[in-house]
Homo-oligomer: 506 residues x 2
């Protein structure tokens, strides 16, 4: 490497190492705010987060850093592969934000923090009007950010496409519309059939009362089963479960304990545990190049939902954990068979809360939010007192049920406080994992591995094929690299059709 290239690379890496300290602090403060921070301290803590993230932003806006990063981008062919990827990522980021001043960045950040606090209050009071102004500001901010953004290549056609691109580089509404249309076409008629199926599935025992202590034991057990490394991660409780990677050796997850819905925590733990495994199994050698946080959101949701559904809701997994379930929850399982438990956790029942939805109807929740988001961002649909009704109408259209208040309606999820564009990730993720599940099946006996609890084998395959290149390839290239095929929703739709046709004997 030329001396000047090395000098610029060193400057960039050193600056990013300082940024990482600010980012680490922001993650911890954010995790704290979402888990334990007292109500009246939240706004102040949010301001501290804005202040610190703005400090990191300021470092990347300095002339020295910008010049060095742009030099690296222009001379990227002289760089090692890892640093080339880094230089390209920095360039995209630079273009996206070069018209945004340090002061503007701080203002934007405050708007999102305020939105979080307002959303929380609105949700607690089941009253969208409390969140309405903040949500309008969030949209204004995202539209302004789109106006200010630059791109080296083609500019996204619309603001919503730009948001998609930020979460899922290179993906546009074209791909998502295609996937969602295919979903609706095949799954809607199947849902009708299931609704009118004669199959009786017992679910009475799912609402039997359990203690928090029992659920805590179960959560610890499940994390051990999937080989979550507790010395490099932690678990606590929040109403809305999530995962955050606070630092290299610090993947935190949260769950919630409902006294009469013990499976809710079980599957949220496996879901969030999947996210955490993705983080914990990042290749060590990538850290010095700052590429370990480059996975797309749909890549991430593909992994979490792989563990939650493809593994967690499989017949083999239930076989594996059933003895422990009986031991921890004796009052629940005294008169329940393994097969009954498997069927119960796969029952199809249109419901209002996305995170509690069954695997089969889950995608409808995403489609609803996606259609609304497109209309809000690109269609200029007003964010007013009628928005809850429009939300409720879509639930009636796709799932045949209607929320009775805003808390079980459009306020259920935190994401809008951070802006639009995320939700597609959950659905596209399912489609990715169905594709790589089929590839994995060629290499290993998944069924045997699950029923024997051989997570070294499963996690090892995932690390090698799924995790490793996630930091380097754009999503559609990545899935093609893993599977040898172009992205398609078909694997997922085949899987759903097959599994639920059998289950409901239709």
């Amino acid at each position: 490497m030329k001396e000047i290239t090395l000098k610029n690379l060193t400057l960039v890496l050193d600056t990013l190492a300082i940024c990482e300290k600010y980012t680490n602090a922001c993650h911890v403060l954010n995790y704290d705010e979402e888990t334990i921070c007292p109500k009246k301290a939240m706004e102040n803590q949010g301001e501290t987060i804005s202040f610190l993230s703005n400090k990191a932003f300021e470092l990347t806006k300095s002339d020295d850093f910008v010049n060095a990063a742009n030099y690296l981008y222009e001379h990227r062919d002289e760089l090692d592969y890892e640093d080339k990827v880094l230089a390209e990522g920095l360039r995209r980021n630079y273009m996206r934000t070069r018209n945004i001043s340090v002061e503007q960045d701080l203002e934007f950040s405050k708007i999102f923090n305020k939105a979080f606090v307002d959303w929380l209050e609105a949700k607690n009071k089941a009253d969208f009007s409390i969140f309405k102004d903040s949500l309008n500001k969030v949209r204004e901010t995202q539209l302004e950010q789109f106006e200010l953004s630059d791109y080296d290549g083609e500019r996204p056609k619309t603001a919503y496409n730009a948001l998609l691109d930020a979460y899922e580089r290179g993906v546009t509404t074209d791909e998502i519309d295609m996937a969602f249309n295919a979903f609706k076409e095949r799954i809607t008629p199947l849902l009708s059939k299931i609704k009118s199926s004669k199959k009786k599935i017992r679910t009475d025992f799912l609402s039997r009362e359990v203690t928090d202590e029992q659920q805590r034991r179960m959560a610890e057990y499940l994390l051990d089963v999937i080989h979550f490394d507790k010395s490099r991660g932690a678990i606590t409780t929040t109403e809305h479960p999530f995962t955050d990677n606070l630092a290299k050796d610090d993947a935190r997850i949260t769950t919630h304990y409902y006294p009469t819905a013990f499976t809710s925590s079980m599957f949220s733990v496996i879901h969030e545990g999947g996210h955490a495994l993705f983080m914990q199994l990042q290749p060590e050698e990538d850290y010095p190049h700052f590429n370990n946080d480059s996975q797309s959101m749909a890549m991430h949701e593909s992994v979490s939902r792989f563990y939650e559904n493809r593994i967690g809701r499989s017949r083999e997994f239930i076989h594996l954990i059933f003895p422990k379930c009986k031991e921890i929850f004796p009052q629940v399982f005294s008169d329940v068979t393994e097969e009954e438990f498997y069927e119960a956790i796969n029952v199809v029942e249109p419901s209002l809360i996305r995170t509690e939805a069954d695997e089969f109807t889950y995608t409808f929740h995403i489609i609803i939010r996606y259609e609304l988001e497109k209309a809000l961002v690109d269609g200029n649909m007003p964010i007013d007192d009628k928005l809850p009704e429009r939300w409720n109408d879509l639930y009636e259209k796709y799932l045949g049920i209607r929320p009775s208040n805003d808390k079980e309606g459009l306020l259920q999820d935190v994401h809008w406080a951070s802006g639009f564009g995320y939700f597609q990730a959950y659905a596209i993720g399912n489609m990715y994992n169905a594709m790589y599940y089929n590839k994995m099946k060629e290499d290993i006996d998944i069924s045997k591995a699950i029923s024997e609890g051989d997570f070294d084998l499963i996690n090892g395959w995932m690390a090698e094929h799924v995790f490793k290149k996630a930091n380097y390839l754009a999503p559609m290239d990545w899935i093609k690299d893993i599977t040898g095929r172009e992205f398609t929703p078909d694997d997922f739709l085949d899987y759903l059709t097959d599994k639920y046709t059998r289950l409901y004997e239709i």
Copy 2:
């Protein structure tokens, strides 16, 4: 105020507002590290804390700030009282640290962070040798800091006096030796009498098994009883309970739940709750002057131990909470009277763990640590493999019992990881609160207030007399201001003598 004075004041206040953001972040990260941060992430998180606290330090080292602060100090008579106190505090701080560079500060900070991680591992493994090197470095650092420090007035005679001064401005080993000698003289013979007393106190029920859930309910109840404001504070669990004031509206406490020692959490919650009340009842008008964090450690421990012991272990308080105790822990109290519970929580029994010690023998734990600290800091006693033995010898001397390992010996408390000089605060605090308790008794009927749960009255008195001037006066001036008398250990010794002579009928 002259224009130039105002300009300097504005610069100082604006800079301190930025420092406060860094400090807020450090507190949150520290709280996180002590409560939930995974083991392998601690060192990195400690480095982030060092980085951020160093950023704040750097701001106070800038020429602009130093000049403005020194200008204010020189012209302090032009300032309002609150700002004058601030200017004097900044001046002391400036003198103490003016020979320490930003780089040195960062190095020091890393040493203390490393010491925390090493202490934790050493304690978990009950092996002092793991902590030994770090403790040596902590001592070296504190001695070096003393060498580097300047004072406007008289320089403390020894390094240990400088440490005392940092925690307890103006207090020296002279006062503490006097107080501890008086304690030993009066309490040692009384302890012998108690040991040979024929009085039978029932304690069997204190070790009856309870659930975490029950203890959590009790903790929430006790916090409500003393009027802890949950919208401006939080509670979680750690092995070593503590309180931290993360921000103006954010006083956090921790406790621990032992299944067969439920009173341990009860009294730790009241103790930490006392610290939190001190923070939550700070005068609103002091915040803009940045004086709200100026209480001495003994002032703080005086308050926490006032709530824990003078209130919490009183006959009246047991009367107040007994019905709820029976409701929450029915399996414990089925055959126990109110009087039996009162006696049980006041039983005198020399023990190894300070935080679990009874009120009567508690001060011996402090005297032991204090005598050892003086020898370590000023007497150059070696920090080597013999130190645990020297610790154990002192327990044998004063309490007649001997730790069987380092975990129940010198590793029990976290404080040494942050350096020496803190422990006296716990004992001096008891002496302060005995003095102001006697003053309070002249103003209000404490007995009636406690038994009726009138904490508005008690907390109101505390806020007015104890909390308000804590930010403005040096400890010995403060206690004189409250009580009209010079500091004396006699009120505390009288109280102990009276209470325990009655209880043990000696």
